[in-house]
């Protein structure tokens, strides 16, 4: 796996392959008409293979890659379930049902029964409905943490990459401080700094952890491009520096950023679950979120009813796997090494 930070994103489309002329005029007369057509066809099919843009090339390769397809299906299903959760879930996720609370004690959490396929959670709510609704909150936490991290990181990286010099140096020292702490410890520090945990402190903490990663990725890509031929050409043509950054360097770096964002999503929901496990998660008992369900109830009642841990864990694993597969496949697809 080569370092994504040093890899420029998309490069300029390749120029069309130098195509041979096939058959020269003066010899065609020697051949029968049928042969002529065949030769021309052969010549056409062997030339004209270049010119496909790298992005289109990458998409074509993604669609042929089973890993990407599996990842995309998982991610797609996850998003669909999240959108339509209220329609899919049999019950309200925060309602406590008398059928479930009836026998509920700390040592006995009712399992599957009619109307409640996965049984109860520790508060007498429908576990299946909470799991389904959990996809929404998980998507929410993951997307926000990723987007905030990406936004701040891209901002820092773009400024550093566009200006270079001391601006770059100063910003990189800032990311150094963020990178000086191992990721989860940084998140713990950030959450602990807030006097009280909320869903937002978790999202923010997980997001900040990813800021230096995006910043360095974008900066590296942009610095590599500063010296590239197409940027030099644009500069020679008198394109304004601002436009070079906005129209040439940034868009070309974004592919790598998007790939990183896909991978970050998986890390974000795992980190959020870890914070919940450490007691630093969202204290709202009504919130159904997989990390919270696994980290709090799943942990506390593991001996009583391990399903409370198994199902959210399985959901997290599958979704994290889906995003990782998709991200890895995307990274492979944009890698110029794999271009054919």
């Amino acid at each position: 796996m080569s370092d994504p930070i040093t890899r420029p994103g998309v490069t300029a489309p390749r120029s069309g392959g130098e195509r041979g002329d096939g058959v020269s005029e003066r010899n065609i007369g020697l051949l029968g008409e049928r042969k002529k057509a065949r030769l021309e066809e052969l010549a056409r099919s062997t030339a004209d293979k270049g010119g496909v843009s790298l992005v289109r090339d990458a998409v074509r390769r993604l669609r042929r890659n089973p890993v990407a397809i599996v990842g995309a299906i998982i991610v797609g299903l996850f998003i669909l379930v999240a959108i339509f959760a209220p329609l899919i879930a049999p019950h309200d996720p925060v309602q406590r049902f008398p059928e479930l609370t009836k026998d509920l004690t700390v040592d006995n959490i009712p399992g599957s029964q009619s109307g409640f396929p996965l049984g109860s959670d520790p508060l007498g709510r429908d576990f299946a409905s909470r799991l389904i609704h959990g996809s929404r909150q998980t998507l929410f936490v993951g997307v926000l943490a990723t987007v905030i991290g990406l936004g701040l990181g891209v901002l820092i990286g773009a400024i550093a990459g566009a200006f270079g010099g001391w601006v770059d140096q100063a910003l990189m020292r800032v990311t150094d401080v963020m990178l000086a702490l191992p990721s989860l410890l940084l998140a713990i520090t950030l959450v602990a700094m807030a006097s009280r945990s909320t869903q937002w402190t978790v999202i923010f903490a997980v997001a900040i952890v990813n800021v230096p990663i995006f910043a360095r990725l974008l900066r590296g890509s942009m610095l590599a491009q500063r010296e590239s031929d197409h940027v030099l050409a644009a500069r020679a043509l008198g394109v304004k520096e601002r436009n070079i950054v906005l129209r040439h360097m940034l868009p070309n770096s974004m592919t790598a950023v998007i790939v990183q964002a896909t991978l970050t999503f998986a890390v974000a929901i795992l980190d959020a679950a870890a914070l919940s496990f450490l007691g630093l998660g969202d204290p709202d008992i009504n919130r159904a979120e997989w990390g919270l369900m696994l980290g709090v109830d799943g942990q506390r009642y593991f001996e009583v009813r391990p399903e409370l841990a198994y199902y959210p864990a399985l959901a997290i694993i599958v979704v994290a796997l889906g995003f990782t597969l998709l991200g890895e496949a995307m990274r492979e697809a944009i890698d110029p090494k794999n271009r054919r």
């Binding site: 041979g20 096939g22 058959v23 020269s24 020697l30 051949l31 029968g32 030769l39 010549a43 062997t46």
Partner: protein
């Protein structure tokens, strides 16, 4: 008995989900002891694959090699991998195109030369290093003592290629295969390396297979030349005959595309049209047909056979070039 007798060598690349591709198609040629034989052609014509097949260095998967490669009568293709390993570096040496990437960047030059001697001559490290010093000296590397402990990135490109030649010749092999040994070098260095090769081959009596796309190299070095196109030998001739009278339109094209000092002012260089990718499968006709000036109907009916010529060579063409090309 020839030193090396390649008979009907076939290499087919077969990747899962893709059509098999015949890179080397029934190639036959011989190398006599001490002789220098050229394999000439554009990139993609199968000359490198041929050499790797002889050395048994093709990837284990994804290809099928058939035919016979008789080295002093023994078929190398039928040897057990370990027996082949014993011969590589000892009886057959090989030099590659890019000397920088062909040397291990994190091992000192001395060890890279010495390890061949340790492997095949049973020397210990100390003795091997001493001999390595002499070898580096013999290939014209200045201050060989110091080079022993240096790394490839610390020496020049020409010296790296000299070091590779030292490695290939360390065990005094009877056959040396040089795969485009000068392509990656500066023009001035190219001549030095070729001179060195010629000198070493003459001194040691080692036979040499010279793989190149550069007819200048052929003119200076080779006794016999095999011209390859599309994985097939299209013409074989003694060097003198080839330059005096190239019969195959492809060879002819190669010769006429070399710029010459004595050609009339204003005369245009002759370039062969198209590129190697414009060939048709041999089963359907002559692979060179789409690029050929002399193409006739028969060229598309089926592959022409390789037939002996009056001058003792071989030729695979329906409509050979008749005119005479002046000797360069």
């Amino acid at each position: 008995m020839s030193l090396l007798d390649v008979r009907d060598l076939n290499v087919v690349f077969q990747r899962r989900g893709e059509r098999p591709f015949t890179a080397v198609d029934k190639v036959s040629f011989t190398v006599e002891p001490g002789q220098t034989v050229g394999l000439v052609g554009e990139s993609g014509c199968g000359k490198s694959v041929t050499s790797l097949a002889i050395m048994g260095l093709l990837p284990k998967r994804g290809n099928k090699v058939s035919g016979e490669v008789l080295f002093e009568g023994a078929d190398l293709l039928k040897l057990r991998p370990d027996d082949m390993r014993d011969r590589r570096g000892r009886e057959i040496g090989m030099i590659f195109q890019d000397p920088l990437s062909s040397l291990n960047p994190v091992i000192p030059i001395g060890v890279q030369v010495a390890e061949v001697l340790e492997r095949h001559q049973g020397r210990d490290r100390k003795q091997a290093l001493k001999e390595a010093r002499e070898l580096l000296d013999a290939v014209g590397i200045p201050d060989p003592e110091r080079r022993l402990t240096e790394y490839p990135h610390q020496i020049s490109g020409g010296m790296r290629q000299r070091a590779l030649i030292a490695i290939a010749l360390a065990c005094k092999p009877r056959l040396l295969i040089a795969d485009e040994p000068t392509t990656a070098l500066d023009v001035t260095i190219q001549a030095q390396i070729l001179t060195l090769l010629k000198q070493l081959v003459d001194e040691t009596g080692t036979a040499l297979i010279m793989i190149t796309h550069d007819l200048g190299v052929v003119a200076g070095l080779c006794d016999t030349v095999n011209v390859l196109y599309g994985g097939k030998v299209v013409e074989r001739a003694e060097r003198h005959d080839l330059f005096a009278r190239a019969r195959h339109p492809y060879t002819h094209g190669l010769l006429s595309s070399v710029p010459r000092l004595d050609s009339p002012r204003g005369e245009r260089l002759h370039a062969i049209r198209g590129s190697v990718s414009d060939n048709i499968p041999w089963t359907e006709g002559c692979a060179f047909a789409p690029r050929c000036d002399n193409v006739v109907d028969a060229c598309l009916e089926g592959p022409p056979p390789l037939e002996p010529t009056a001058t003792g060579g071989d030729l695979r063409c329906n409509n050979p070039v008749q005119e005479e090309v002046a000797v360069p």
